[in-house]
């Protein structure tokens, strides 16, 4: 459990684990221990996959037993019935699980939660039924016998070799899991879990991430199934009922969701429970159900929660941070031009926005104001790409992006904040800011840095800390967003947006609900961003804030643009006065 020992370089911990794996079968008192060790190793692999799926990406699967079965059957049938070499049959089984995982995960592409739980439940059931009834291929409940075992040609030493093989694979998978949890990948999966629109805003192709993590998790369950098939040499459909899936889920939640070391603990506890339940088989189901309820309701953090969470340290002293200077990076000044041409948006016949036109010049602050219901939120969501306009065009830096999804626009430098804050509550402020950053190194270099222990993502941490210092909240780096005041959370969200290196910043009510002093602070920061060449489009109700900051102001009312000009011009415009104060004629 390397994450519990932050001071020791990871590589050393993994080396120790490898040594323990090497020694274990040689010192185990009898073959039974080696057998349990094997079972632990491949079960933990499946549980790690579930933990990443449930704990990080927030997707539920009730069908991992199905993938486990697909892996076991494909490899067993190819090796037994068709006599293929084990290496090929195992590789084919993994490929099959990936493909099936992609197909089942397709349901998760556009919906999540309930539908995925349902589709996976049905999938596991279908696999079980097919295994049971397609006797000519699977052997049904009578099973496939004589499945070749992984013994590298040495019958006597076979179990030891198999243990080394399975435990070695577990170690590799655990390292991969630790990396996922400790790197930008984990942060991004957290964002996907938090909300779709939020993840798209930080530039993530959400469907791709969802289906990718689902297929990877399916393949890990399949790998466990493959190992299971070649451990016992016998595969029967009885092994793959819903109870298998439930067992894997129990191990996942009992170990502790969303912590990389959880699955190891959870699998060990599961195997202990399974051995204990064998004696009281009549009430086995009741115990499983009871354990699920007790763990989920009384110990939602699982066993790993008892160890306490490692404090996420920013590793950067707040006062030793170099001053952050907002810069336009490599995007160039021209990229900061935003043109919205004749955009109309209607919902089922109700026009929320009619023929709206607006241009944000590079390096200026443009404010969009209007009474409630004027169409401002619709406007910002259409520009950000969360809504498709009914008509009209949107151009960034002169190129048409009307057809691009939100995450592609974000990568072009169109970055937004949300009216009702979007932050990952469970991770530190610093990591929320780092979410906005691209990974600078290649994957391999980043993994090596990670294994080396010290200095992994040090530059990203330092930069995130300097952005926080620039916003005057450097001391909050190690806190969780849920522990912060509303105004501070708004600033954290702004910091995340700045970390994305915006060319155009869309600020949705940046000072709504914050106190006047904080509002002045936000105005100062936005002014600095403008001076650095970043274009800003802001939607805001606070007139003092808008009039003191904006270079140009556009006024919307009932979906129509009623005025556009400098703050002074707009304030004198009779249409604007009428929109805000009501028609003068009526009063007279």
């Amino acid at each position: 459990m390397p994450s519990l020992m932050p001071r020791i370089p990871r590589l050393a911990v993994y080396g120790l684990a490898a040594a323990a794996i090497a020694i274990f079968p040689l010192v185990a008192p009898n073959p039974f221990f080696v057998h349990v060790g094997q079972t632990f190793a491949y079960t933990a692999i499946a549980v790690i996959g579930l933990n990443i799926l449930l704990g990080l990406s927030g997707q539920m699967s009730l069908g991992h037993g199905g993938f486990y079965a697909v892996g076991a059957y494909v490899s067993a049938i190819l090796a037994t019935t068709y006599g293929w070499p084990l290496t090929v049959s195992m590789a084919m089984a993994l490929a099959a699980c990936l493909v099936v995982g992609l197909m089942v995960g397709a349901v998760a592409l556009r919906t999540r939660g309930l539908y995925l739980a349902m589709a996976t439940l049905a999938f596991g059931f279908i696999v079980e039924i097919v295994a049971q009834r397609w006797v000519s291929v699977t052997g049904g409940t009578m099973g496939l016998m004589g499945v070749p075992q992984v013994d590298f040609g040495n019958f006597r030493m076979g179990p030891t070799y198999f243990f080394w093989f399975a435990a070695g694979l577990l170690l590799l998978v655990q390292i991969a899991s630790d990396y996922v949890f400790g790197s930008s990948i984990g942060r991004r999966l957290n964002a996907v879990k938090e909300s779709v629109s939020f993840a798209a805003t930080v530039g993530l192709n959400v469907p791709l991430w969802r289906i990718g993590v689902f297929a990877a998790s399916a393949a890990l369950a399949g790998l466990a199934g493959v190992l299971f098939a070649h451990q016992s040499g016998f595969v029967s459909s009885d092994a793959f009922n819903i109870r298998l899936t439930i067992s894997l889920l129990i191990a996942t939640v009992i170990g502790g969701l969303g912590r990389s070391a959880g699955p190891l603990l959870g699998t060990a506890i599961l195997i202990g429970i399974a051995e204990a339940i064998a004696a009281v088989h009549d009430i086995g189901l009741m115990l499983y159900g009871g354990i699920l309820l007790v763990v989920l309701l009384l110990f939602p953090e699982g066993a790993i929660g008892l160890f306490g969470r490692r404090r996420a340290k920013s590793g950067v002293a707040a006062d030793a941070v170099s001053a952050f200077l907002p810069a336009l990076a490599a995007r160039g000044r021209a990229a900061g031009r935003l043109d919205v041409e004749g955009v109309t948006k209607s919902y089922a016949g109700v026009v929320a926005l009619r023929d709206a036109t607006l241009s944000v010049e590079p390096g200026t602050v443009h404010a969009l104001i209007g009474p409630n219901g004027a169409g401002k939120s619709t406007f910002i969501n259409v520009v950000a790409g969360l809504y498709a306009p009914t008509a009209g065009r949107i151009l960034i830096g002169g190129s048409d992006v009307t057809q691009l999804p939100a995450h592609r626009r974000a990568r072009l430098g169109l970055v937004r904040t949300f009216q009702n804050l979007q932050l990952i509550q469970g991770v530190s402020v610093l990591e929320n800011v780092m979410l906005g950053m691209e990974r600078r190194r290649g994957l391999l270099a980043d993994v090596l840095d990670f294994l080396g222990g010290k200095g992994h993502e040090a530059r990203e941490r330092a930069e995130a800390a300097s952005i926080l210092a620039f916003l005057g909240i450097g001391t909050l780096a190690d806190m969780k967003p849920k522990d912060l005041s509303y105004g501070h959370r708004k600033l954290v969200e702004l910091a995340r947006a700045i970390a994305q290196k915006p060319a155009i910043l869309l600020l949705d009510e940046p000072v709504a609900g914050v106190n006047p002093q904080e509002a002045r602070e936000v105005a100062r920061i936005v002014g600095k961003l403008r001076d650095a060449g970043i274009s800003v489009l802001l939607v805001e109700h606070n007139m003092e804030f808008v009039m003191g900051l904006a270079d140009r102001v556009t006024v919307l009312d009932f979906g129509n643009r009623i005025a556009c000009g400098t703050p002074a011009e707009v304030q004198k415009d009779p249409n604007v006065i009428r929109a805000y104060l009501g028609a003068v004629e009526d009063a007279a």
Binding site: V107, A119, A122, V130, S197, F198, L297, L386
Partner: protein
């Protein structure tokens, strides 16, 4: 396939479809009000079936037995809400987003085990509910159909009708929709939100219980039959998009009918085809045939 055959299959299909619809209505109403549902709904159906078998074979008159089943199911629905759903709200964000899937599924395992201990693991048949023998055939327009099936269809439609009246015609139905729309606002209007949540879970359990009573004479009953009914009820609810009660009725009848014919066509894997079809449908149209899609924008 003769025309006679066709009509008999159709009636059997509609009878099963009506039962799926009833079970799925329970899922629909809890999902509507709480965005959660019972992943052991099929196991609740199983409990209903066994409770009715137990009482009928003990000589309890049918109406009393049905009443007894309803009482048992109501209590179970309350217990489910009280011990598998409500504690999750207290945990707040310490509970995972989909913990309810696992707590309700875990409760289902406990029910399976209890029934297993009480009735044994082997399959049983319920005595017919509406007629003396299970193969009592009546003749409608020259087509002989089982009286039991016809009675089940009529009963199921009466219950669905009562459900619609509850949802669209009664004050409680309005309260359910108010809670579905916004629980906080509903409580400000003086609606007992917790009461509504309990009510929908009790109602869902009652629907499952009635389904269990009705399905008893049609299929063999065993303690692990619940899973398949959970899956099919979920599939039927998904065809209706979980939001459209009429869509669920149409989806249920389509599903039951399709299943009867695909079973006839392929006796080995026939029951899987409608399920596979629904999964493919969801991949293409995630909101089902009738549901509306809503963008996730905050």
């Amino acid at each position: 396939m003769t025309l006679l055959n066709f009509f008999q299959l159709l009636v059997s299909g509609i009878a099963m479809g009506a039962i799926y619809t009833l079970t799925a209505k329970g899922l629909f109403i809890t999902h509507l009000a709480t965005h959660r549902l019972n992943f052991g709904q099929g196991d609740f159906l199983m409990v209903g079936a066994f409770a009715s078998i137990g009482m009928l074979t003990a000589g309890v008159p049918a109406p009393l037995a049905v009443l007894g089943v309803l009482v048992i199911m109501g209590v179970l629905g309350y217990l489910l809400e009280r011990f598998a759903i409500r504690p999750l709200d207290r945990l707040g964000d310490r509970a995972g987003a989909y913990s309810w899937v696992l707590t309700t599924a875990g409760s289902a395992l406990i029910l399976q085990n209890i029934v297993e201990l009480g009735f044994g693991k082997s399959a049983q048949y319920a005595p017919p509910l509406f007629s003396k023998t299970r193969d009592n055939v009546i003749n409608i327009f020259g087509v002989g159909i089982f009286f039991e099936e016809a009675a089940i269809i009529i009963t199921a439609f009466v219950v669905v009708g009562a459900f619609y009246w509850f949802l669209f015609g009664s004050r409680w139905g309005k309260a359910v929709y108010a809670v579905a729309f916004n629980p906080e606002a509903a409580s400000l209007f003086g609606i007992d939100v917790r009461g509504v949540v309990v009510l929908v879970f009790v109602l869902a359990a009652l629907m499952a219980g009635i389904s269990g009573v009705l399905v008893g004479p049609l299929v063999s009953v065993h303690p692990h039959m619940g899973l398949i009914f959970t899956i099919k009820a979920l599939a039927v609810a998904a065809v209706g998009g979980f939001t459209n009660p009429v869509g669920i009725l149409v989806g249920g009848l389509l599903f039951g009918g399709a299943e009867a014919f695909s079973n006839y066509w392929d006796s080995a894997f026939g029951d899987l085809y409608p399920l596979l079809f629904v999964m493919a449908l969801l991949a293409v149209r995630p909101s089902g045939l009738f549901g509306e899609r809503r963008a996730d924008v905050r």
